[in-house]
Structure formats: C-alpha cells, structure tokens
C-alpha cells in the first residue's frame, strides 16, 4: 500500500489530475468562484472617505477666497510644490490675500499636510484623481483653476 502510494506520488499523474479538476472548477465558476475585475471606464470604484485627490481653494459666503496668504501651507509642504505671492487685501477683515497661488501637481505627493496646516480652512483635497494633461504646464494649477474646482 505504501509502495503504491509512493508510486502514485512519483508518477505525478494523480496530483496533475487533481490540479486539473481544480482549475476546471474555476473555468465553469463552480464553488462560487467570483471575478473581482471592475470594468473601469464604465464602472468606477467608489472613492473612500478621506481620499486625498487634487486640491481646491474654498470661497467664503461673499464669494471671496478664504485664503489669507499666511504661507503656512507653502512652509509645511514637503515637496515644495506650492508657490504663493501675497498682496494687500482690499477688504477690512484681513490684511493679505494671495496674488498668485500655484500648485505644481506633478511635484505634489498628495499628503494633505497643506489642508492640515491651513488656519482658515481655505485649502482642501478633493476626490478627483483621474485628470489628464497633455503638457507639463497644464499640471501647474493657478489660483483661478483652484478656486473654480
């Protein structure tokens, strides 16, 4: 009996047949074999809560940008992708506002530190992630673009 067993083992064939039976059950989707593929452009995977996508700048209730050009985000940014140029604000409730607010999306590592650092809740990471550009210049987002998102 032991001899037969070792012979069967050395002949490979029983093990081969067992393997073939297993893969066949996969082909016919027996035993509840399921495909996990998501048909991407038609079906999109739901974005998880807290996902860090592209940035946007928020506006207050009067339609002005919330940003006061305090440079906190630019300072904390580990990849140095934010460039701010400040100017004097025409409004009474704050001293400064950004004249230029640019984010280089190609350098950004989407860590969300800018959002953490902002004292005015003015910058935020959205859930957008699948954005195409055909040149490098297009991936440098300026103030208008960030505000419009």
């Amino acid at each position: 009996m032991a001899f037969l067993k070792s012979l069967a083992y050395r002949l490979y064939l029983p093990a081969v047949l067992k393997g073939l039976a297993n893969t066949f059950s996969h082909i016919v989707k027996a035993r509840g074999h399921k495909t996990f593929t998501i048909q991407y452009p038609e079906v999109k995977r739901p974005v998880r809560k807290g996902y860090r996508g592209e940035h946007r700048l928020k506006k207050d209730e009067q339609g002005r940008e919330k940003c006061v050009a305090c440079f906190m985000c630019q300072t904390i940014c580990p990849s140095h992708c934010i460039r701010i140029v400040a100017e004097e604000a025409p409004w009474a409730d704050r001293d400064k506002r950004p004249k230029v607010f640019e984010i280089d999306m190609l350098r950004c590592i989407y860590c969300g530190m800018c959002e953490e650092a902002c004292p005015c809740d003015a910058i935020e990471l959205t859930e957008r992630f699948n954005v195409v550009a055909t040149s490098r210049a297009e991936k440098i987002y300026d103030k208008e673009k960030l505000l419009s998102m």
């Binding site: 064939l13 081969v16 893969t23 996969h26 989707k29 593929t37």
Partner: protein, 333 residues
Amino acid sequence: MDQAMVFVRPLLVFGAVMTLVPMLVLAERRISAWIQNRVGPNRVGPSGLLQPLADVVKLAFKEDLFPRQADRVLYSLAPVLAFLPPALAFAVIPVGRDLQIARLDIGVLFAVSATSLGVYGISFGGWASNNKYSLLGGLRSSAQIISYEIAMGLSLVALLMVAGTVDLQKIVEGQQGILRWNLFYQPVAFIVFWTAAFAENNRLPFDLPECEAELVGGYHTEYASMRFAMFFLGEYVAMVTMSALLVTLFLGGWDPGFFTLPEGLFGTVLSVAVFSVKVLAILFIYIWVRWTLPRFRYDQLMHLGWKGLIPISLLNITVTAVWTAVHDALKRG
C-alpha cells in the same frame, strides 16, 4: 480536376491552420483569465473576439530591431525555421476521409522528423541573438528535444507494432469504431507520447526554453515585431500539428467512434468536422494544462525524460512485442 485539387487542398488545410492560430491565442487568453478568476480581453469587437486582429496589427507596426553584433543571417532565418517545419508536417496528416495534402507511405516518420526540426529555429534564434539568456534558452530547447524525442519515438514503436503500418491514412482506417482506437491498445504509449509532445512544443510544464522567470523570455528575448510573431506562430502551429498527430495516431483520426460515416461528399465533410472537434478538444487540454501546472525545474525535466519516460516506453515495447508474438502464434495454432 485532380490537378486543381493539388493546389486547393494545401490552401484549404493551411488556411484552416492559419485561421485556427489567432483563435487559439484568444482562447488561451480567455481560458487563462477564467482559471485565474479574471475577465480577459473583452474590449475589441463583440466580447473581445477581434482581439487577435488588434494583436497582429500591433505586432506588424512595431519597429523591426536588429540587436548589435547579432548574426544577421541566422537572426532572420531563425523565425522562419521555427515556423516552417510544423506547418510542413501538417502535409501528411489525414484531416478527413480521402483528404490529405500528400499521402506518404512513411507518414509517421515524416511527421515526427518534420516536427522535431522546429528546434533548429529556436536554437538558431538563441545563438544569433548574441545574448546569454537567449543562448541558454536555445541550449535548453536542444537538450529537451533530444531527451524527449527518444521517448516519443520509442512510444511510437509500440504503437506501430499494433497498427502494423506507418501510413497515417491506413492507421486511421485501422481504428474504425471507438473500441478499436489505439488509445485503448496502447494507453502507456499514449501518455508517454502526449507528455513528450508537451515537451516538444515547449509548452508548460516544459517551457524551459522560454522560462520568463529565469531567462527573461529565453530564445526570443531579442526579437521584436513580425519576427517575434513568426516564433509565436510557429509555437502555435506546432501545437496544432502535434494535436492533429495525436488524434490521428491514438484517437481514431476522423473516425466518429459510434457510427460509420455515410458515403460521398457529406461523409467527407462530416469526417473533417469530427477530426476538427477532436483536435480542438486536445488543444483545449493543452491550454488547460498550461494554466494548471507549474514549470519543471531543469534537472526534474531531465530526470523525468531519461529515468521516467524512456524506461517506461522501453518496457512498453517489450510487453507489446511479447504480446503480439504470442497472439500471432496462437492465431496460427
């Protein structure tokens, strides 16, 4: 009419094989996807049916590269050499009743020798690429063919003792009715032949010449574009030829098994259909096995060939010879 048929038959058979290859590639990709719980190519055409067409277009438009210091003559010759012999071997295979490109009285010998010539393309490709890994792939292919060709030939000896002829058409005619298929007279030869056929076609579990994990693709590492496509085509045509040979030798060829074919044209067409179904079934098993078994290690491959298949087929020959002799003696009284 007969002279016209000389041209029509090769075109028919060759055209059928060439049409089968892209379908086979698609089937391979879809079946592998099902086995691995994936979806597979389903974008081009209705449920991905036009995918092979897109593949061919892609390959045709790729840049045709010549590696520096490659042997130019051998490098261009190798893909042709890998593709032609298996296509050539198809000439002697009876694809239906009275339908065969060339009827040779040594059909079996011709088919076996022609299919084993395919290794030259692979070895030359490995050598001409001037790449260590390609060379190793080519070497492995030669060693593998030498080892498994012997086992294949020996298993055929036992089969030919039973069949009593080397004419493929006669071998098929001797297997009318499912109980007279050679599979049931020579089961050991069948298993040995089929295992050796896997090795000869460089299919998994014996695809050591390719072996992308250790040889980065083996003999066709340096090939691109249509030259690569020729290698690919050669591999699949060899697979079709081997399956056809297997069906002819062991599974009754165009014999439907349970009934006799009617006379006339209808019977011939039916015989071709039966033959095709059998070949497709064998091809499915080829694909199925590929996506089930892992690759053999090189020493395991040699071990299986020299210490496993060759002794088994030698034993099979002895048993068959004794049995045939006793059977004949009893018959004569």
